[in-house]
Symmetry: C2
Subunit: 334 residues, 2 copies
């Protein structure tokens, strides 16, 4: 496998050309990620972890495994890293818990699995995969999903495993702000203020194309810092944050409520299926629709011919892709 | 308001004609509902309750209220009746609990609200509406959703309120069968056997068109008898069991897992939005896609011109509609 890491303008050019055939595309979240707010050390850490995830997924494809396995293997790497808002780095709810959602879908037969609101499962994407492959259901939630995961032999962790200082500080910052805001604003606006931070946007996702020509998409997230009332976002919702069929696979990241209302991932796929739009056009139009509703975020998509699209309307989005030859590309800023 | 109750072949002819302008369409679940399995008394009870629900929704429209209010008012009537698998008549989970899901969506601005896995909320559709109108979120679940509902002043009930003999007996029947089956089959197949009963199919839903020309769709359900692991079905999933935009509103009923995988409600709307298909064609094609995946059930849909579609691939579906003149039509069998 060739390892080629490029940055900046060169990369953008490569990403926007439709020449290469990609087999795996990933995101690590979109948000107010700017060059100014990022130290070289932090940027390198993100790039290295994204490359590791891409390699893990690529290895599955090279070994002739399914797109589903590639998606799961790639996402597990990011879930195990505290850098991303998924698995170990999940943000905290209002009650200082880590409450995670994940989904996976296989384009070949439109099978799907999802878990929502789980606190103890080390790798929610593996639980979603188990729901898909080992249950009659598509979506399990809360304690029930945890019991199912444990029954299937998946790793269950103590809350301390998911605790990271950065995320906990993020919650404290918002709670403080909320308290100050409550003197002059409603609770709703205080919740809204949490969107001002970068913390909601670390969702991770992957779309893979295997050697049999089948697509799969997966997404995993800790949701939104300071979320309340066991809120479920778009990531575990098939057709919103995650979707795959025989034409395209999609994973979203951003302000989940708007992705649900726009049925974002399915809308992108429907534009390809019903209007014969190319992946770039379909993806851009979908982001525009989310923006018109008032939302922001990004999408990654990979079609059956190996074309990718990675539009976003935020300052940055952690993103990367691998070609069928093993070339790795990673980008962060606009 | 004229009240005209027709049955049988006459009704089918009226339903399939595109002459009348409808303002409200409802379902009370699809399944193995046959003339042979239904007593005259039971059939009359279902018809009367559906008519009451249609009238409640129609009154909202006549009073100039929004499609959202009409949908909610109509569904509340069925939630309050033990006849339907929603609210008071919700089926039992494996652990003998009533665990309900609901969603509502307003086509005008694509706002939406949903609750999943709630045990104590008297009218889950009202909770979904409160999520839509009084929170920054689209989907709340479990205990958090219940706390939210209570905070918003919605009625909270003891478990005994939701207990009905018929549903409890339904669970016992399945548990007995599961126990017998477990000697020779896997748990998965035993769960599957629960689909053989009618109990999963009582989901209720409504789509309304208000005087301003806006559409809304809503769905409420107790899910599947004997469900485990806090399973979430298609009803509270925007784009699966519930969806509305400026063209059409949709509510589904049936084997939820297949409705999620087919992104059923959004698929129907996308066929209209992107392929300019009429509502009948779009609805029929969507049911065919669900069937191809292996699922069954039905859909109701109402477009902005007052045309309806109510296809299903089961033996029967409780369904009804009201015209703008207040004519009520109710049908049960194929």
């Amino acid at each position: 496998m060739k390892k080629l890491l490029l940055t900046g303008a060169v990369l953008m050019a490569i990403f926007s050309s439709a020449q290469k055939k990609y087999v795996l595309v990933m995101h690590g979240g979109a948000g107010t990620i700017t060059r100014e707010s990022m130290s070289a050390e932090k940027e390198n850490a993100y790039r290295a972890k994204l490359a590791e995830a891409l390699k893990a997924g690529y290895a599955e494809i090279q070994n002739g495994n399914t797109a589903v396995n590639a998606v799961s293997a790639a996402i597990v790497v990011l879930e195990d890293s505290p850098l991303f808002n998924a698995g170990r780095g999940a943000v905290f709810t209002h009650d200082a818990k880590n409450e995670m959602d994940a989904a996976i879908m296989y384009g070949k037969d439109k099978t799907a699995g999802a878990v929502a609101g789980v606190h103890t499962i080390k790798n929610p994407i593996k639980a979603a995969l188990a729901v898909m492959q080992q249950s009659e259901h598509v979506m399990l939630s809360g304690r029930g999903a945890e019991e199912f995961a444990q029954e299937k032999g998946l790793a269950i962790m103590l809350p301390s495993y998911f605790w990271t200082k950065e995320r906990f500080d993020g919650l404290q910052h918002i709670l403080k702000k909320e308290k100050a805001d409550s003197l002059k604003k409603t609770i709703q606006n205080a919740v809204l203020s949490s969107y001002e931070t970068d913390q909601k946007f670390g969702t991770v996702g992957a779309v893979a194309l295997d050697k049999s020509g089948n697509l799969a998409a997966g997404t995993s997230t800790g949701g939104m810092t300071n979320k309340k009332w066991n809120r479920i976002g778009d990531s575990p919702i098939i057709g919103a944050g995650t979707y795959a069929d025989s034409l395209v696979g999609v994973s979203g990241t951003g302000w989940g409520e708007y992705f649900i209302r726009a049925t974002a991932a399915r809308t992108l796929a429907a534009k390809m299926e019903y209007q014969n739009k190319d992946i770039q056009t379909a993806a851009k139009e979908t982001i525009t629709e989310i923006e018109k509703l008032g939302g922001d975020g990004g999408l990654i998509a990979l079609d059956r011919n190996g074309n990718i699209a990675m539009p976003f309307n935020t300052a940055g989005m952690y993103r990367g892709a691998v070609t069928e030859d093993g070339e790795i590309f990673i980008e962060i800023y606009k």
